[in-house]
């Protein structure tokens, strides 16, 4: 019988082994459990490889930007703040520039509705005006390109990893949707027939790091990339060897404590000018494949070029500067209106073409990095966001210092060289030697071909010269006289109009769409407004709201909004109905004429205006009749 009055003898339990063998066993079990736990923790059970869009797969020696972060946090942070990173992103609620849930849009006879499901956006479409029940099956927006000016969206197609462009893009600053063909300077007749596979075949070459199109059928692709966006290894080449080698702390410290360069990674900062520039130019240039086999190789394996190489291996930068005029003509013909007729590049995003043709480049030291810092210097006090928005300029490089770092002698007496007072915008090196004569991203951009202004470039090739981009109200003859007086230029033979009419007015009325875009942009540029007097800009910007080219209308609207009385001016540049456009112009014109115009101001005859400000109809109509209406495509 059990005696319940006395508690049982407590059993002494041994929680910790007393022998060394037992202790080792216990430690081994704990380690094992930790390892299994760690593995489970690191495994993302939910992630599945998406089948409806390009995916990230590392190529040979590439290891992706996230790997670089642990050792280079500062450089990673500046890259992360840059628009290079967000050039291409997987689409999600977080990466799209606007909330698109429930958005309804109409373009070209089709209604679109976008809905957020989970973290992804889906698009349904139907013919305009049809019943809700006729909406198509939803298609996911899987990828997006751009994050600075314009965001473009890519839809799944059901054909493996092939994508198709959503037909409208989103202007971030303006918070405005626009048909894709109205986001480039293209003729009004231009219409995209089909964009299926366009990203996979074309955009992938530059908008990601080491993209491989991998065509598997007729416009069907199984594309992959090393990194979405332009990541570390786009400029530093594959980093796997670098990472492996630098796991050894002794190796790292031997590099830290010596002047030796790390040979396991490419660093554009240590390259000569042309080689460093080619790192940027692998994308920022107009290039062509060397042959069909090279194109095919790039499609399947990605670019053979590695930063540090002296040439692009499968590709060549197109430079239409051949001495042989037939070759030059052929090149210019092939690349359409991307170049001025003297071979100077006229679209943005292709800066290497201009840089290579610059005299500075021939010295061998000058490169993109002479002015741009792809990682801001430690002395740069700007925030990373400001640095990114400021075109990633180096410290002081958005001032004369950019040029004076080499041309030191000119710093002694700048007015002697510029013939403008020191504080004038006419004394800024950039304004004369890198004028806004390129176009892209719906605005004028500084030419990266460093030149000196001439009147001949304007009369022979139609390129607005730097002087008249500021002195829009002056004639070409005036410019020719000044350049002759100050720099000894020959005075070329000029037409009568060039003696009598403002260059700016003439280019707007008579020029091609590219010239018109540059001049209406200049009319919103503060130095030109100061130098030319902005009163006469109003009627020109208003009539250009009715330009046949959507891009010109957009730029005119933006410039008009920079003028007093029109800061809040609202206008939809995407309207293609001519009557509606004209009505908007009329309304803006009368608003200017009755409310904004200073009736005491006397307008100059050379600006093709009457003293009161109305157009001199005879000259105005004549110039419009003489307008260069050839089709212009400026696609950056």
């Amino acid at each position: 019988m059990t005696d319940l009055s006395t508690p049982p003898n407590p059993v002494k339990r041994k929680y910790f082994p007393s022998s060394w063998a037992g202790r080792c066993k216990l430690i081994s079990i704990i380690w094992g459990l930790l390892l299994v736990g760690g593995w489970l923790f690191n495994t993302n059970w939910k992630s599945e490889t998406p089948a409806n869009r390009p995916i990230q797969t590392l190529k040979e020696d590439y290891s992706s930007a996230v790997t670089c972060r642990s050792c280079h946090p500062g450089n990673y942070a500046s890259w992360h703040a840059s628009y290079h990173r967000t050039m291409t992103q997987v689409a999600s609620k977080q990466t799209t520039a606007s909330d698109m849930d429930g958005l309804e849009l109409t373009d070209d006879g089709t209604d679109y509705r976008i809905d957020l499901v989970g973290d992804s956006y889906f698009v349904r479409s139907k013919m305009e005006g049809r019943a809700e029940s006729e909406f198509s099956e939803p298609r996911e927006i899987v990828l997006l390109t751009g994050s600075h000016n314009l965001q473009v969206y890519w839809l799944e197609t059901g054909k493996q990893r092939t994508m198709e462009q959503f037909p409208l893009g989103y202007f971030i600053a303006e918070k405005k949707w626009a048909p894709i063909e109205q986001t480039f300077l293209v003729p009004p007749s231009a219409k995209q027939v089909s964009s299926r596979g366009e990203w996979n075949a074309g955009c992938i070459n530059c908008h990601v790091t080491v993209g491989r199109s991998q065509p598997v059928g007729d416009r069907v692709f199984d594309s992959s990339v090393s990194d979405f966006g332009i990541a570390c290894e786009a400029c530093h080449a594959g980093g796997r060897e670098h990472i492996e080698r630098n796991r050894d702390p002794l190796h790292r410290f031997s590099l830290h404590l010596s002047d030796k360069k790390d040979q396991t990674i490419a660093n554009p900062a240590n390259m000569d000018g042309p080689t460093a520039s080619l790192v940027c130019g692998q994308c920022h240039s107009i290039w062509s494949f060397n042959n069909a086999a090279a194109a095919s190789k790039l499609d399947t394996e990605g670019a053979a070029y590695r930063p540090g190489d002296a040439n692009m291996e499968l590709r060549t930068v197109v430079q239409p500067f051949s001495e042989d005029s037939a070759t030059r003509h052929e090149t210019l013909k092939e690349y359409g209106t991307s170049f001025w007729s003297d071979g100077q590049i006229r679209v943005t995003g292709r800066e290497l073409n201009g840089t290579m043709a610059s005299p500075c480049f021939k010295g061998g030291e000058f490169s993109c990095l002479s002015c741009h810092d792809l990682h801001p210097d430690k002395t740069d006090e700007k925030s990373l966001a400001s640095w990114a928005k400021d075109h990633q300029m180096g410290v002081g490089m958005n001032t004369d210092q950019a040029c004076l770092q080499c041309h030191e002698a000119l710093a002694v007496n700048i007015p002697e060289h510029t013939h403008h007072v020191s504080s004038s915008s006419g004394s800024r090196c950039y304004n004369c030697h890198m004028p806004h004569s390129s176009y892209g991203l719906m605005r004028a951009i500084r030419s990266h071909q460093i030149t000196s202004p001439t009147v001949r470039e304007s009369i022979d090739h139609g390129r607005p010269n730097a002087c008249n981009l500021c002195h829009l109200d002056e004639t070409l003859a005036w410019t020719a006289d000044k350049l002759n007086e100050w720099y000894g230029h020959d005075i070329p033979a000029l037409e009568q109009d060039d003696h009598e009419l403002s260059a700016g007015a003439k280019w707007i009325l008579k020029g091609d769409a590219g010239q018109r875009a540059l001049i209406v942009w200049a009319m919103g540029w503060a130095p030109a407004k100061r130098a030319s007097g902005y009163e006469w800009f109003y009627p020109y910007l208003i009539i250009q709201l009715n330009d046949p080219y959507a891009a010109v209308r957009f730029v005119s609207w933006k410039s008009l909004k920079s003028l007093p009385g029109f800061y809040d001016f609202s206008y939809d540049y995407t309207i293609t109905d001519d009557a509606k456009q004209k009505a908007a112009c009329d309304q803006a014109y009368w608003n200017w004429w009755l409310k904004v115009r200073d009736s005491r101001h006397v307008y100059q005859e050379k600006t093709v205006l009457q003293p009161s400000g109305s157009f001199r109809q005879d000259t105005f109509q004549r110039l419009l009749k003489e307008r260069d209406n050839r089709e212009i495509y400026l696609i950056e």
Binding site: C71, H72, P73, G74, N75, Y76, S78, R252, F253, H256
Partner: protein, 139 residues
């Protein structure tokens, strides 16, 4: 000076020093000093934080050692063991601190090599102390 007193004195003074360092780090935070907080000097911030944390913790260890010697009858540390504990608890956090002063991108300065030196001294000191204490506590 007795071993116990030496550890207590060391412990309280280093506690004062590394708490002061902590206050300094808070100040750097408070004024958002880029030299300490910027992304490109992340390693400096890590080194200083580790220095503060280890220095403070090891100060408490030394106080604990001093009190243990007083509490456990017959327990004392040999001079080299005591020295290893005292110097280890100085060398290790100072290694972190100096390593954070001069950095190379993602790497600390050369002084970080003091950290493993201090670490081994501490391991030796703590191991010997545990062994000696076990002897004294045997029934």
């Amino acid at each position: 000076m007795t071993t116990s007193n030496r550890h207590l004195r060391q412990g309280w003074w280093t506690l004062f020093i590394f708490l002061t360092l902590g206050l300094g780090l808070e100040t750097l935070h408070g004024f958002k000093i880029g030299w300490y907080l910027d992304a490109d000097v992340e390693i400096r911030r890590l080194m200083f934080t580790l220095s503060h944390a280890h220095g403070t913790l090891l100060a408490l260890v030394n106080i604990g050692v001093g009190l243990t010697i007083r509490c456990v009858e017959g327990f004392d540390l040999e001079k080299n063991v005591s020295g290893a504990l005292i110097w280890g608890s100085l060398v290790l956090p100072i290694g972190f601190l100096l390593g954070g002063l001069f950095i190379h991108d993602g790497d600390p300065g050369l002084a970080v090599f003091l950290v493993p030196v201090g670490g081994f001294m501490l391991l030796y000191g703590v191991g010997c102390a545990a062994k000696e204490l076990s002897k004294q506590l045997k029934p």
